[in-house]
Symmetry: D4
Subunit: 224 residues, 8 copies
C-alpha cells in the first residue's frame, strides 16, 4: 500500500506551468512505498508527462502497480507515464554512446528528451580509438540542433565531436573505466577542459539531466 505523500514530499505540480517542463521523480533515495504513493498522485493528472528515474526493479514494480500502462525502459532504469511521448517539436537531439558500456546512460538521456517532446536519434560505439566510426556519422551529427555525448574513460569524444559540428554538445561523463577513472572523475575533468568550445557538462552518469538540457536547447522557437 502506498504511503501518504504529504509526509515526505511536496510535489511541484506547477512546474510545467512555471518552467515548461514537468518535475521528474528521482527514485534512488526513496522507498518503493514512497514511489508508489507518488505514482498514485500523478495518475490523477494525465495532462503532464511524469518520468521516474533511477528506478530499481522494486521501484518499477511499485510504480506499475499504480500505473499499469506506464512505459518501462529497464536498461535506462526509467519509467514514463502516460506511456507515449508527446508529439515532437523543436530541433533534433542526437545521442551518442562512446562505447557499449555507456549505453545505459545514453538511453536515459534519449528517453528523457523524447518524453519532453523532441525528435531523437541514437548513435552507438563510436569511441575515439577508431575515429573512422564517428566520421562516418558526420551527416547525422551535423543535422542535430544539439548532440548529447555519453563517454567514460578518457572522456575525449565530446571534444572531437564539438570540433566537427556547429551545434552545442551536452557531455555526460560515465563511471565506466579502470581504477584511475575514479568513478567518472577522469572523463568529467576532461569534458570540463575540452579544447573545443561548445561543450556543456552535466553530472556523472546523469543521463536524465543531459536529456533535459538537450530538450531545452532544442526547444522550438527562439524564445525572445
Amino acid at each position: 500500500m502506498p504511503d501518504d505523500v504529504a509526509a515526505f514530499a511536496d510535489l511541484d505540480l506547477g512546474r510545467t506551468a512555471r518552467r515548461g517542463y514537468p518535475e521528474a521523480v528521482y527514485c534512488a533515495g526513496k522507498t518503493p512505498g514512497q514511489v508508489a504513493a507518488i505514482a498514485a498522485a500523478v495518475g490523477a493528472r494525465p495532462e503532464v508527462v511524469t518520468l521516474f528515474t533511477r528506478a530499481t526493479a522494486a521501484h518499477a514494480a511499485a510504480i506499475l502497480g499504480e500505473l499499469p500502462d506506464a512505459c518501462h525502459d529497464a536498461d535506462a532504469a526509467l519509467l514514463a507515464w502516460p506511456p507515449l511521448p508527446p508529439e515532437p517539436a523543436g530541433g533534433l537531439v542526437v545521442v551518442v554512446a562512446a562505447g557499449t558500456s555507456d549505453l545505459r546512460v545514453a538511453r536515459e538521456a534519449l528517453q528523457t528528451a523524447s518524453y519532453l517532446g523532441r525528435r531523437t536519434e541514437l548513435v552507438v560505439d563510436v569511441g575515439v580509438a577508431g575515429l573512422h566510426r564517428v566520421l562516418a556519422r558526420l551527416d547525422l551529427l551535423r543535422s542535430a540542433r544539439v548532440v548529447v555525448v555519453a563517454a567514460g574513460m578518457d572522456g575525449a569524444l565530446p571534444s572531437v565531436v564539438a570540433g566537427l559540428v556547429a551545434a552545442p554538445v551536452v557531455a555526460v561523463p560515465t563511471s565506466v573505466g579502470y581504477g584511475a577513472a575514479f568513478g567518472g572523475l577522469a572523463p568529467l575533468l576532461a569534458m570540463l577542459n575540452s579544447c573545443a568550445p561548445g561543450v556543456a557538462v552535466v553530472n556523472i552518469d546523469n543521463g536524465y539531466g543531459a536529456g533535459h538540457l538537450a530538450a531545452q536547447i532544442a526547444a522550438p522557437g527562439e524564445q525572445a
Copy 2:
C-alpha cells in the same frame, strides 16, 4: 617584431566555415611575440571576428601594435578585431554575475556572446543571500533564450535561476571565495549537482567558454 607563426601555430582559419564560429586565440601560454604574429596574420582576413582571450597588458600591447583599432576590454582581459561586433541574430543572452567579484568572468562571457553575434544583457550582484534581488529581475531572465550565471563560493545561484526559467542555464564557476572554495572547486561541484535540471556547466573562470556555448544555444533557426 612578431615571430614566425608557422613555427608554433597552425591557425585554424577554416573553422568559421566548418563550425560557424571563428577560432579564438588563448593568450595565457603564449609570448607577446607569438601573439603579435597571430595578430598580424588575422589582420589579413577582416571577414571573420577574432577574439584574443586571457590577454595581459603585455599581450594587449603586442596585439594593438598590429591591430591598432582592436577593441580592448581590460576588465575581461579580452581583445576583439574587427572592433565592432557583428549585427546580432538569434535569441537573447542574459549574463548574470552573482557578486561584484564575479564580474570579470561575466564580462568575458558577455563580450564573447556579443562578438559571436548575439544580443546580450548584463545583471549584477544578485547572490542568493538576498533572494529579492534575483526575483526583481525575473522578467528579464524569462525573456532570455539562454542565461549565463557566473558565481563563486557556494555556486548556488544557477540552481535558483534554473528553477525559475524555462531556458537552459550556462553555469560558470569562479575562483572567488575563502579557503574551502579550493580555487573554484566548491561552486563547480555545486553546479554539477544542481537539484534543478537544465544547468550546463563549463570550466572554472571560463567566461569565454560560457559565452561561446550561450551563443550556440541562442543561435538563429532550429538548425534541423
Copy 3:
C-alpha cells in the same frame, strides 16, 4: 548475553553533569553484544536520556532486549531511553529536509533535539528548484531560534534559508546525489562556502551532530 563493558568502553556517565548533555552511543563500529552491554549499564540510571545512533536492526534488537520500552525510530536508525523526551525548554528548533531522500538524516536531527529537551518542527521537500515551497514556510522558519537544514546534491538550501532568517542555520550535508556529489562532498563544500553568513556546518549525514548542536544553540537562558 551482553559482553562485559569494561573490556571495551569507559562510559562517560558524568557527561551530563559536566556538559549538560548526555553521551550518545554510536553503534556503527560496535557489535550487537557490545551495544547490549551498554544498554544494560544505562538501564540502571534512568535519570539521564541515552541515545543509540546508527543502529542497525541487529543493534536495535540487542538494545530492546535490555530496554524493552526504549523508543525506536527505524527511519532515523535511532533508539532513545527512557522512551519519552524530557519536557521541552529553550527556543524552537525547526528541521528542514530539502528532499525526500534527506528525510532520514533530518529525522535523526529532530529526534536528537527533542530528546535533548527542545521543541521541534519538521519541514519537508522544499528544495531550491522550487523556491515558492520554502518561501511558503517563511513564518515558521522565522519563529525558530535555530534552523537545521539537511540537503544533498548542490547543498544550496542552507544559503537560501540563511539569507531569509535572523537565526543561525545548522547545515548538514547528505550523501544523496549523482556521481559528482562524491558521497556528500559537493554539498559539504557548498555549505562551507555559503555566501550568506550564519551557516554552521556539521559532518556528512550527521543528523545526530546537527540536532545536538541545535539543542545547544536553542538552550534556555543566555548562559552568561
Copy 4:
C-alpha cells in the same frame, strides 16, 4: 575617485531590517575604486554598522579616504564604520586562538562579533600540545554563551574545548601548517569529524563568518 556603485554592486541596504544583521563588504575581489564607492554610499547611513573584510592596505586607504574616522584593525584586515561598536547585548563570545599564527583569524572573528553587538574576550596560544594552558582558562570558557576556536595544523583544539563546556563551539580552521595541512584542509576535516558533539564548522580562515555565527548564537532573547 570612487566608481559608480550601480555598475558593479546592488547593495543590500535592507539586510539589517530583514535579518537583523548588516551586510559586510568582502574586499578581496574588488578594486580599491569599487570599495571606495561602496564606502561613500554607506557613509550616508550611519544608523547601521558596516564591516569591510579582507582589506589590503590599498583597500584600507581607499575606505579611509571616504570614511576618515573608520576603525581599522590591520592585523584582522578589517575596517568598521561607524568607528565604535554598538552597546553590547546578549551572551558572552569567547574567541580562542590555538597558536600565535592563528591570531589574525581570531581577531577578525572577535571584531566581527563586537561590531554585531556582543561582549567578547580573547584567549591566545592554548594549543593541545600543552593541555594545562587551556585547562587554566576553563572558568572563562564556561562563562561563554558560545566559544569560537581558531586552529590550524591538527585542528584538535575545538574537540577538546567542546568536551569541556556546555556551550556550542564555532570552529574555524586556519591555513597554518606544514605541507600536509593542504591549506587548511587537515584542520577542516578534523573539526568536521570532532568526536565531541557541539562543534559548528565554518570555512578556512573565515574569521568573519565565525564571528557572525557566534553573534547570532549569543543573540539576546530566545527568539521564540
Copy 5:
C-alpha cells in the same frame, strides 16, 4: 589442499636474520589455498614467529588446517605460530584505543608487538571528548617506552598524548567515522599535522605496522 608456494611467493625466510624481525603474511590479497601453502611451509621452521594478518574466517580455517595449534585472535583478524609469544625484552609498549570502534586495530597492534617480543598494555575508550579519561591513565602512559594510539574521527588523541609524555607516539588512523572522515583520511591528516612533535604516523587501519614499529622503537639496547 595447499597450492605450490613457488608459483606465487618467494618467502623471505632470512628476514629475521637480516632485520631481526620475521616477515608477516598479509592474507588480504591471497586465496585460502595460497595461505595454506605458506602455513605448511612455515610449519617447518618453528624457530621464528610467523604472523598472518588480515585473515578472514576462510583464511583462518586454512591456516589452522596446517597449524592446528596456532593462536587465533579473531577480533584482530590475526593468527600467530608458534602459539606463544617469545619471552619479552626491551621497553613497555602501551596501546591506546580512542573509542570502542578502534579496538580491532588496537588489538592487531598489541598482538604484533607481543609476538615480536615486547611487554604490552592496553588502554581503551579514552577519546578527547572526555579528557579526564586519558588524564587518569597518565602514570601508565608515562611508563611506556613507546605509546601506540589508534583513533578515527578527528584523530586528535595522538596530539594530546604526545603533549603529555616523553616517549614517541605511534599514531594509527582508523577508518571509523561519518562521511567526511573519508575512510580515515581525516584522522590521517590530523595526525600528520600534530601540533605536538613526536608523532610517528602509519597507514590507515594498519595495526600490524603500528605494532611492528613500536616493537622496533622499544627494542632492547641502544643498538650503537
Copy 6:
C-alpha cells in the same frame, strides 16, 4: 541466446589492418548476452586473435558457449580465441609481480603480450622490502626488451628496476594495500614520480594495457 551486436556495438574489425593489433573486448560494462553476441561474431574470423578481458564467470560461460575451445585464464579474468597464441616475434617481455596479491594483474599483462605475439617470462614476489630477491633476477631482467612491473602499496619496485636495466619499464599500479593506498592512487603517483627515468605508467590494475604497450615496445623491427 546472444543479442544483436549492431544494437550496442560497432566492432572495429579493421583494427588489426590499421594498427597491427586486434581490438579487445572489455567485458566489465557488458551483459553476458552482449558478450556472447560478440563472441559469435568474432568466431567467423579466426585469422585475428580476440581477447576478452575482465570476464566474470558469467561472461566466461557465455563466451565458451559460443567459442568452446577458447583459452580461459580465470586468474587473469581473460579469455582468448583462437586458443593458441601466435608464433612469437620481437623482443622478450618480462613481467614482474611485486607481491603475490599483484599476480592477477601481472598474469593479465603476460597473457596479453603472449597473444599479441611476444615471448614472455614471469617473475613473482620480489618486492623492495627484500632487495636480494630482485637482484637475484637481474640477468633475466637485463635480457628483456621491456619489463612490465605490477606493484601496489608504495609502488617502489618500478623505480628500482628502472635504475637497473637499460630497457623501458611499463609500470602498472595495483589496488592492493591498506587504506591510504586509496585504491591504487599511492602506487600510481609513486610510479609517475619515479626518480629513475624510463618508466611508462598505465592505469590502475590495467594488466591488459600494460601487456599491450609492452608488446608494441618489443615489436620486431625498428619500424622506420
Copy 7:
C-alpha cells in the same frame, strides 16, 4: 665559485655503463653554485652527454661559466654538453605538441631524445578541436618508432593518435589550461584512461622523462 660537489651530490658517473643512458642534472632544487660545481665535474668526461634540465637563467649562466660551449635551449630550459648530439641510431621519435602552449614541454622531450641518440621530428598545434590537422600528418606519425604527445586541457590527443598508429605513444600531460585542469591533473587522468591501448604516461610537464622513455623505446636492436 662552484661549491664542493661531495657535500651535496654523489654523481652517478657509471650510469651510462650500467644503463646505457647518462644521468641528467635536475636543476630545479639546486642553487646555481651547486649546478656550477656539477658542470665543472662533468667537464672532465666529455665522452658522455650531460643534460641539465629545468634550468633557470641563473642556472644557465652558472653552467655556461664552466662549460662555455654548452648548447642552451632556453625555451626548453635545458642545456647539453658536449654541444652536439651524438650520431643518431635506432628508430624515429616524432614529438607532437597539441597547442602552442605545450611547445615548451615538447621541446624538452625532443632535445632529450636527440641528445640520447635518436632522430627526431616535431609537429605543432594539432589539437583535436581541428582533427584535420592531425590527420594531415598521418604519414609522418606512422613512420615513427614511437610518438611523444604533449597536451594539456582535455588531454585527448594521445588517445586519438594511439588509435591511428601501430607504434607506442608516450603521453606527457602539461599544466596548460583553465581552473579545473588542476595543474595538469585533468589531462593526466585522461591519458591514464585512454580508450586506445598503447599509451605510456609520464609525469606532468615532464618533457625530459618523455624524451628519455622514447629514446629507450626507439633504441636500436631488439636487445634480446
Copy 8:
C-alpha cells in the same frame, strides 16, 4: 623593538620538565617583531635549548639582534640558542637525503636531533635510481638506532632502507618533484604504504618533526 609576548603567545617554558624536550618556535606565521620578543624571553633561561624553525632572513636578523651568538644554519632555515648542542647521549641518528634537493629538509632534521642531544651522521644523494649508492653505506645505516630518510618524487627510499636495517626509519616526504608529486603528496602516500614495516611517517618537509621524533626514539635508557 620586540613586541610584548603576552599579547600573542603563552610560552610553554615547562615543557622540558614535563616532556624532556624543549618547545621550538615555529617562525612561519609570526612577524619578526613577535619572534624577537620570544628570543628576548628565552635569552633569560640558557639552561634549555631553544630552536627557531622556518626562519626567513628577516626572522634570523630579528633573533640575532636579541641573541647575537645564536647558531644560524641558513640552509636549514633554523637557529639554535645556546649556540652549542648539548653533550650527546643515546643512540646514533643517521639522516639520509635521497637527492641534493632534499638536503634542506635533511639538515633541519639533523640539526634538531643534534640540539636535542643525539649523535648524528649525514648521508647524501643515495636515491633508488642508483641502488649501489645506498648499498655502499649499509654499515653506517646498520649502526644507527634510528634512520631518518628525506625523499621527494616517488618516496621509494624509506621502503628500501627499512628492508635493509633493523632500526626504525623516520620518513619525511619533501615537496621536491614534477607536477604529479602534488607538493609532496606522492612521496607521502608512498611512505605511508611502505611494503617494509618499520616506517614512521611525518609531515611533508617537516625536518624538525623528523629530527625530534628520531631524538626520542634514540633516547638513552629503555625508559621502563
